[in-house]
Symmetry: C2
Subunit: 375 residues, 2 copies
């Protein structure tokens, strides 16, 4: 029996809404997972993350492995007890961070060797060690280690990375000793549909609890991203959760839900919240913009979050300008609320059979692009 | 009629507990005022500050004058509407910050000219402009502008500053046009009892709504601070609130309450919270200490704050070490809770007539000095 199961309650076109059952409780899908890189969603107490509507969070295996180390986390009862987040936790494999953060990286067929970005210590990550770390953390949904070396448009590199990812699938599965922890495989292949098809066939066949689309939105351009998402969303196994990794903007999530994806994570709401860029129903608002100096209204008049209910744009602008810690926190709260509320509204629209109209209306308003800033 | 009134409910020795009635609601005394320098208690939402037990906060006139400026704050409905804090706000006069932060400062009998520390713009503060700024902010308790140039032990400088402060008293009072805003006078005079007596006589006679002891804990040594506090606390007018400005550690507050003070502010709980120094019933804990690396218990086992109920010392240490924003926020929450809970317990002990025993017990435990770190 699978460690997690997805029950679909309603579909609307390719979009679907359901419940992901995990050992730490249910998650309504489509679901957005706030990113808690180093064991906290930056600036927020766990209870606050829950109150904003999150039912599952993502933690980064690489960061926690480097600091404070999975041995300490396990000694203190696992990441749930350590961080105070009692709901399900999805951990990535650490692979993406090794390829984006670590130094002196060398990859071979067995794994990847690198110096970490904190202490410069030599470290090694293999499918076996990645799963071992994720299990030590107490992950509820683990990700298989993949090769993320493919660069946009380079077929040879994409093929090599996809091949290696495919060969590692069985090793990831074999390394799992915690039967209650789910394990998702990742489809790679860059912008090449035939490579992605090959990767998908292998990943779907291997019996993973869920299937993720990886290596998307890594510099290949918006149109190409949309094409890949629209092409492969509906082809991922329908009976298992479909996870679009590491993206994106609100409009990306709407499009991906329309293509049948169930799970999402992205640093944008938290990172942008820290840098004064707020997501609103009419697009991104750059709070530092001088036009908001004396704006008495909230960032988003339609928003019901604790920040918009309390703070004017002028006050938010003051907080960021003065370097007050409350600015980044308030921006994070607002942005997460916006993302999580968007997911809730998408679930309702799918259940009501009105997702197409919802999608068109939301995208049109987001496209007003209040400040016309690009993330 | 005074803009604020203090009703004493019980006394125990020189200590007293009561209610300060302000136009924005009552404040139980002795009261600690969290410092919200630039319009926010750093990192905390206003509702959170209230839930921690604060009934009044302090805002810094100098900082808000420099950025975003009192005109903007007034335009947006005053500091209460701007910041979302609905309870009473005490504002300082700006004088102390001019003397500690501003550049190219020159003082004359009319006021003080300086360059601000943010933009280096030339500015001038007089008793009249200080009161005007505080009123524009919507302050509920204003402080008279004083001369803070006295240095510990230098009689001539202390006398000059006290004299000027004394001469400014009437100008501060005459500048008030908002009858609902209280105005407190400040007793200066450094470490010289005769100068302080002279200052006190003038301040008490002038009909201020409350009287503050200023220029304390500015480098004159702990024993001397205690002596001044113990000497002058009981001599401040008994029928009006007595405010000990800008100090101190928990043990300082206990001693000052024993000397009859009613109101306190200090940056220590918030500033120390940001730098991983936590106040506990057994003294200061330096969370970064390696001994806490795998400490599964909370910072203070006796503490009921949201942080101690949820986070281990090991997790807090990880947050600070990893540079996670949640560390400074959690430390601030804990420290403010500790201060505000200490005030609550002091009020209860005074009401119960057991303050002497309470004081001895608390001081003995604080003196255990868990990490033996000095603030």
């Amino acid at each position: 029996m699978a460690a997690v199961t997805l029950t679909i309650h309603a579909t609307d076109g390719a979009a679907r809404t359901g419940t992901l059952a995990t050992r730490r409780g249910p998650v309504a899908t489509p679901a957005f997972m706030p990113v808690g890189t180093a064991g906290s969603v930056k600036g927020l107490m766990p209870g606050e993350v829950r109150e904003l509507g999150a039912e599952i969070v993502l933690a980064n295996t690489y960061h926690l492995h480097v600091r404070p180390g999975e041995a300490l986390v396990r000694q203190l009862g696992g990441l749930h007890a350590f961080s105070g987040w009692e709901g399900p936790i999805l951990t990535d494999s650490g692979g993406y961070q090794v390829f984006s953060l670590a130094r002196r990286r060398t990859i071979d067929d067995d794994g990847v060797t690198f110096l970490d970005h904190v202490e410069g210590s030599p470290r090694r990550l293999t499918p076996e060690s990645s799963i071992a770390i994720q299990q030590a953390l107490g992950s509820d949904v683990m990700m298989a280690l993949d090769d993320c070396t493919g660069a946009p448009g380079e077929r040879e590199a994409a093929a090599r990375a996809m091949e290696r990812t495919r060969r590692w699938l069985a090793r990831n599965l074999a390394a799992r000793t915690d039967p209650g922890a789910a394990l998702f495989g990742i489809v790679q292949g860059g912008t090449f549909d035939d490579l992605r098809e090959e990767s998908l066939a292998a990943t779907a066949a291997e019996g993973f609890d869920g299937v993720a689309l990886g290596g998307v939105s890594v510099g290949e351009g918006r149109a190409e991203v949309r094409r890949i998402v629209a092409t492969f969303g509906p082809r991922l196994p329908a009976g298992r959760p479909r996870y679009l990794m590491g993206m994106g903007r609100p409009e990306d999530l709407v499009e991906a839900v329309a293509s049948g994806f169930d799970m999402f994570d992205c640093v944008l709401p938290t990172r942008h919240g820290r840098t004064a860029q707020l997501f609103t129903s009419r697009g991104l608002v750059n709070v530092r913009n001088a036009r908001y100096r004396d704006e008495a209204g909230p960032a988003d008049p339609e928003c019901g979050c604790p920040v918009c209910r309390r703070f004017s744009l002028a006050y938010l602008r003051h907080l960021y300008t003065a370097g007050e810690m409350l600015g980044p926190r308030a921006g994070t709260v607002h942005n997460l609320w916006f993302y999580l509320d968007l997911m809730r509204r998408m679930r309702e629209a799918i259940a009501a059979g009105s997702f197409a109209a919802f999608r068109a209306a939301v995208l049109a308003r987001l496209d007003e692009g209040r400040d016309r800033e690009e993330p």
